[in-house]
Symmetry: C2
Subunit: 236 residues, 2 copies
DNA sequence: GTCTATACCGTGATAGAC
DNA sequence: GTCTATCACGGTATAGAC
């Protein structure tokens, strides 16, 4: 009998009631612990035992809930992917349904600001999730998870970009998104490298600053693409 | 006695001669095998035993040469970092010492083309190395290896950029490099994600295409930064 | 000096008892 | 829903072969 196993004090005593407490369920505790560990050490760098210990539950519980370590990882990744997709989709809809015509900047913001919000959230779980996405995105073996979880909505964003960049060829647009995606995920990784490189002038974990620069950088890049494409269009 | 243990046929018979054969040393075989495995599965996803087996050597040999698994990883990472740094430094020197004034494009090319060359090399080891760098760069725990191996030269490149972008503030410049770095390493990762997203229109492993787009995208982005900074400078 | 065989000991995943 | 026993596997040290 583990002495520290009861973070829900009120739930058990009157056995008629169910889950009135707002304490996180043990399932969520496992997800949170796994998220924190995976985000720092990767899939193979974490053991189920570590997850269980960090969550304060028995070793066997993660497997009970999620079938396998892989299942746990998928659950961790999927959980907040839903949240991010919802927020991005709502933001995009707001832009596209607005009275005013959508602009390049408004679309980029709809894509990026929800990530910024996560990165800056009080709940450290969101920051951990950002790191996790960064790893998955450049991992090779795990990259298919990006496709599964995000591509449907990303294609909508690319459609939106196509509308405000009418002269840009599709291939350019896809490569442009690729560049944006790389910069965005590196920002999400928050590795502290730029801190060192800039001698403290820039800070990885200053979300406000990081994502504002990300937006203005890519605003310039995409606008330049459009300008150049239009010029060629005229000339040709 | 392993029957398949002799990839150097001529070396041993006349014992007077030393290493005339151009066959790779066993040390290099271990490095190559480790590189291939690490680049796909990460540090913790690979066991020393797998490395040994892939290299066709005894389990203890990697540790004999490199002290520990970590030592092996460091050696793998450092080996081609030297090559890349040399090529980049030579390219940068050519640009800066030229009669013609350096341009934004020439500097970006000096930075990026050596990577493109590696990515497109016939030796698959170079491609594996590209993937490895991509992982390390967005890993959190391993990112310090980037600093150790690359920052000295990267600061030289940032200096060069500062010269051709005289109105851009330092902070902007560092964030710009950050964005470039993210896009570049995602390109190096070659995950095939853009293939899927673009429905086959773009291909991760078409190095020619990928890096040309990378260059023109960032040419536009940095030039826009300079233009905007100059405009503000005039106005203010 | 280069390399192999093997043993050690901690750790991990998982199945099945409770 | 929890605990535990099992058993395989991992990194590395060591003894010695060539």
């Amino acid at each position: 009998m583990p002495p520290d196993s009861a973070p829900e004090p009120i739930v058990k005593s009157p056995k008629g009631r169910r889950k009135v407490s707002d304490a996180p369920s043990r399932r969520d505790l496992v997800l949170d612990a796994a998220e924190a560990l995976f985000s720092r050490h990767g899939f193979d760098g974490v053991t189920v035992r570590q997850v269980a210990q960090a969550a304060g539950v028995d070793v066997a519980l993660p497997n009970y809930y999620f079938e396998s370590k892989q299942g746990l990882y998928d659950a961790v990744f999927g959980r907040r992917a839903l949240v991010l997709n919802d927020r991005r989709e709502a933001a995009l809809r707001r832009v596209m349904d607005s009275e005013d015509a959508p602009t390049l900047e408004s679309i980029l913001r709809a894509f990026i600001v929800p990530v910024q919000t996560m990165h800056a959230a009080a709940d450290p779980g969101f920051r951990n999730y950002c790191r996790l996405v960064a790893q998955v995105n450049s991992s090779g073996v795990l990259a298919p998870m990006m496709t599964t979880n995000f591509d449907r909505l990303i294609l909508k964003f690319i459609d939106a970009l196509r509308r405000v960049l009418p002269h840009v060829a599709d291939r350019e647009l896809y490569w442009g998104y690729h560049c944006l995606s790389g910069a965005l995920t590196l920002t999400m990784a928050s590795t502290g490298r730029i801190d060192h490189l800039s001698n403290g002038l820039c800070r990885s974990d200053d979300a406000e600053d990081a994502y504002e620069h990300l937006i203005s950088f890519h605003l310039g890049a995409f606008q330049a693409m459009e300008d150049r494409a239009r010029a060629i269009c005229r000339k040709g």
